[in-house]
């Protein structure tokens, strides 16, 4: 029995060992097939000659592409003569002017690209050549930006990756590498303070300070690959992609036509470009901060319109603030604020719409919307006042009730004392 058991154990162990070995081998073969040794990488790493900006996280490296996928050559040979031989298609470092086409070999080929990202666009190179960067590069100016200027050459990451040079938060600094370089920009007579201005703007604060990636970076107005300085039509069009109603109102006015004739830049004329600030009601007034008086003089129709619009807006703003202050008091007193809150939301909405309607330059329209807001604010104020009054009524009521209780308590006390006194006298 014992011998038999030993044989059985030996047999089982040998079979398990054999199977284990076969499985391990299979696994190793599989691994080898997946990761063929890239001789370019091995050698260049060995002699410490990898590109300066090389990153292990590069999107191409992650997709298992070899150096030779872009630079050509044979990645299977460890012999430099063979692997870097022009007969093997070796290109080496491409010339700057050739870079767009160099990247476009794959990025403009939908059949190649859909393997990696089925919905990726493949018109980047085409678009690039419509941009000032692309046009100048074609004309032989090698100082302009090509693909690697923005995306880097060997540490390319998807635009959604926060580490990427083209991630929304990083775009302003990426553009500024060239556009903030005065010696580079001197030749093009372009100012270099765009980033400085942008950082202080409402968009810049939202993006760079508050990390709100829905706020526009440079590329959201100027385009990505098809970068082009905006002309009169396009700039108002660009702002209008987000500020739709404002643009619609403005385009329907006589002012839009006049602007075009005078070669004024739509939105930019009043709001500025890179340094665009949060709009302020004073901009429509006729005071120091007014934008209207840049063109209109005291007494002319535009001057009167701006005065009227400003007056409607301020009236609504004051009424809203008054109601809001009361609302806060109601909340602080712990009274019922639900309905007042809803009404204030409506009033605020009317204020926002009135401000948007400024772009119609129509006093009747702004006035009507402002009146709507004023009426709602007045109602909210009344309601809030009622709650505040109720707060004091309750306290006064409590004081009166306590007084009545106190009188009753004193009366009871004396009654009890009186009874006790009577009892002692009757006992004695």
């Amino acid at each position: 029995m014992g011998k038999r058991f030993h044989y059985f154990l030996l047999y089982t162990l040998s079979v398990s060992f054999l199977f284990g070995f076969i499985l391990l081998e299979k696994e190793n073969i599989k691994k080898d097939q997946n990761q063929k040794v890239d001789q370019c990488f091995v050698c260049h790493k060995e002699i410490d000659n990898l590109p300066k900006d090389f990153s292990e996280n590069d999107v191409h490296k992650h997709a298992n592409l070899s150096c030779s996928s872009c630079h050509g050559g044979d990645p299977n040979s460890d012999d430099q003569e063979i692997s870097m031989s022009p007969s093997k298609g070796f290109i080496g470092i491409p010339k700057r002017k050739d870079i767009p086409k160099f990247c476009g070999k794959c990025h403009s080929n939908i059949n190649i690209m859909r393997v990696y990202q089925p919905r990726i666009p493949t018109d980047q190179v085409e678009q690039y050549y419509t941009s000032v960067h692309g046009k100048k590069l074609l004309a032989g100016d090698t100082n302009v930006a090509e693909c690697s200027s923005c995306h880097t050459a060997h540490s390319i990451l998807p635009a959604k990756d926060p580490r990427s040079s083209v991630y929304a938060l990083n775009v302003p600094n990426t553009c500024n590498k060239c556009h903030g370089n005065s010696s580079l920009m001197k030749n093009y007579k372009i100012p270099v303070n765009q980033l400085e201005e942008y950082s202080k703007s409402v968009h810049g604060i939202a993006l760079l300070k508050n990390k709100d990636i829905s706020a526009p970076a440079c590329n959201d107005c100027h385009g990505n690959h098809g970068a082009t300085p905006p002309g009169l039509k396009s700039i108002s069009h660009v702002c209008g992609t987000c500020h739709v109603t404002n643009m619609e109102y403005f385009n329907a006015t006589r002012m839009a036509k006049a602007f075009e004739e005078q070669d004024f830049h739509g939105c930019e004329q009043c709001h500025g470009n890179h340094g665009v600030q949060k709009p302020n009601d004073e901009m429509i007034n006729v005071g120091k901060e007014s934008k209207c008086i840049d063109c209109h003089a005291d007494g002319d129709a535009g001057y009167i319109v701006s005065k009227k619009i400003y007056s409607s807006l301020i009236h609504l703003k004051n009424k809203y603030n008054e109601a809001n202050a009361k609302y806060l008091e109601v909340r602080q007193k712990g009274m019922n604020d639900i309905e007042i809150g809803f009404q204030l939301q409506d009033a605020k909405q009317a204020l926002i719409l009135s401000r948007t309607l400024i772009h119609t330059f129509d006093t009747t329209k702004v006035g009507a919307k402002a009146k709507e807001g004023i009426d709602i604010s007045n109602k909210a104020s009344l309601l809030a006042q009622k709650e505040i009054d109720e707060y004091y009524t309750r306290r006064n009521g409590f004081a009166i009730a306590t007084l009545a209780f106190l009188v009753f308590i004193i009366a009871l006390y004396f009654k009890i004392k009186d009874k006790e006194k009577n009892k002692t006298t009757s006992n004695s």
Binding site: G334, N336, I338, R394, R395, F398, A401, T402, F405, F408, I409, L412, Y413, K415, I416, K419, E420
Partner: protein, 360 residues
């Protein structure tokens, strides 16, 4: 004029229903007067607060609508739109706390003055049952506004029931009306709060009061031992009743002060899929039990810590109810008698655990 009408009315009833027993009780009932007389008023205040609860509860019932979609909204309507609704709701919430507080004070005063001894054993037992039902009132009423805090507190509370062996899980499902706290739980708690509990509660309350009227007020040992001529009594009516009334008025004034200056927050509506808000705490009168269960280790020997805790409180409560039947030898050498010592330890335990619960 009013007096004349009143006596006429009493005569009319007397002629038909013979009011002699009531008259005798009122005229002959007397209350001993000694240095611990103040505790005699605690039961009265508790009764008064119960009446306040009954009255305000009925008023709330006029507007309250149970249901997942209406409970929270109706309570919000009561405190915002209904005339004096805010007052009634806040008085109801505050009175529940005061009621439990005075019930505890009443119980411990009876315990320490040994008023539960023969022949008042059943008065104690019914009183204890009333206290348990008062706590059940508090627990079931807490969920009715259907706000976040109540929702999660009920979840935790009913989870504790679930740890009991064998009957725990079915009991939990019975209480919740399903696996989870849902609208079904709300309907059931509403039914328990406004129908089942009041019905049972009234029976025990009536018994409790009948026993007291039948046996009269308890006289503590030091009073009993006084010579007859030194024993002082005051008639229940009107002397004691007037003092009772005086205290009730003061308590009522405090109650509306609390309702006005420290209103109960309604908070956010219960949302089953929302994450539990920070700082879920039961009502203060459950805190000592909740905190004890929290402090227990996960396992004590082979039994789950929480289960052991629940069983301990169950058994301890049962033993406490049967205190009148427990015979403990009188120890003349002891400064504090064993049962009194146990009582002091129980009070200390409740107070310390409640404070710890709020501090931790």
């Amino acid at each position: 004029m009013v007096k004349k009408f009143g006596s006429k009315l009493i005569d009319w009833i007397d002629e038909r229903y013979n009011l002699t027993p009531v008259r005798n009780l009122l005229l002959h009932k007397k209350v001993p007067e000694h240095r611990h007389s103040v505790w005699y008023y605690m039961g009265g205040v508790t009764l008064f607060l119960f009446l306040v609860q009954l009255f305000t509860g009925i008023l709330l019932l006029l507007y309250y609508r149970p249901g997942e979609d209406s409970a929270y909204e109706s309570v919000r309507f009561i405190v915002t739109e209904v005339k004096f609704g805010w007052l009634i709701r806040n008085v109801h919430s505050w009175a529940s706390s005061l009621l439990v507080f005075f019930a505890f004070v009443h119980m411990f005063s009876v315990f320490f003055s040994k008023a539960y001894k023969k022949p008042r054993e059943l008065t104690w037992v019914t009183g204890f049952i009333i206290l348990v039902f008062t706590l059940a009132f508090g627990f079931s009423g807490y969920l009715l506004p259907w706000n976040e805090l109540a929702f999660f507190a009920t979840k935790v509370g009913t989870d504790i029931v679930g740890v009991l062996p064998i009957i725990g899980e079915p009991l939990k499902i019975l209480l919740r009306g399903g696996e989870d706290v849902t609208g079904a739980t709300l309907s059931r708690f509403f039914g328990i709060h406004v129908a089942i509990l009041p019905a049972i509660f009234t029976v025990f309350l009536v018994l409790h009061l009948l026993f007291i009227q039948q046996q009269g007020m308890h006289e503590p040992e030091h009073f009993k031992n006084l010579p007859e001529e030194k024993k002082k009594y005051i008639p229940f009516f009107p002397d004691f009743a007037l003092k009772d009334l005086l205290l009730w008025v003061i308590v009522f004034n405090i109650l509306i002060f609390l309702a006005l200056y420290s209103p109960w927050e309604l908070g956010n509506k219960a949302e089953a899929f929302a994450s539990a808000p920070a700082g879920i705490k039961p009502e203060w009168y459950f805190m000592f039990m909740f905190q004890s269960l929290k402090l227990l280790p996960a396992h004590i020997l082979f039994i789950e810590g929480e289960l052991l805790g629940v069983l301990f409180f169950g058994v301890a409560g049962f033993v406490w109810m049967l205190v009148p039947y427990i015979k403990v030898k009188h120890r003349p050498n002891w400064k504090i008698q064993p049962l009194t010592l146990v009582g002091i330890l129980v009070v200390l335990f409740i107070v310390i655990m409640t404070i710890v619960g709020y501090l931790l």
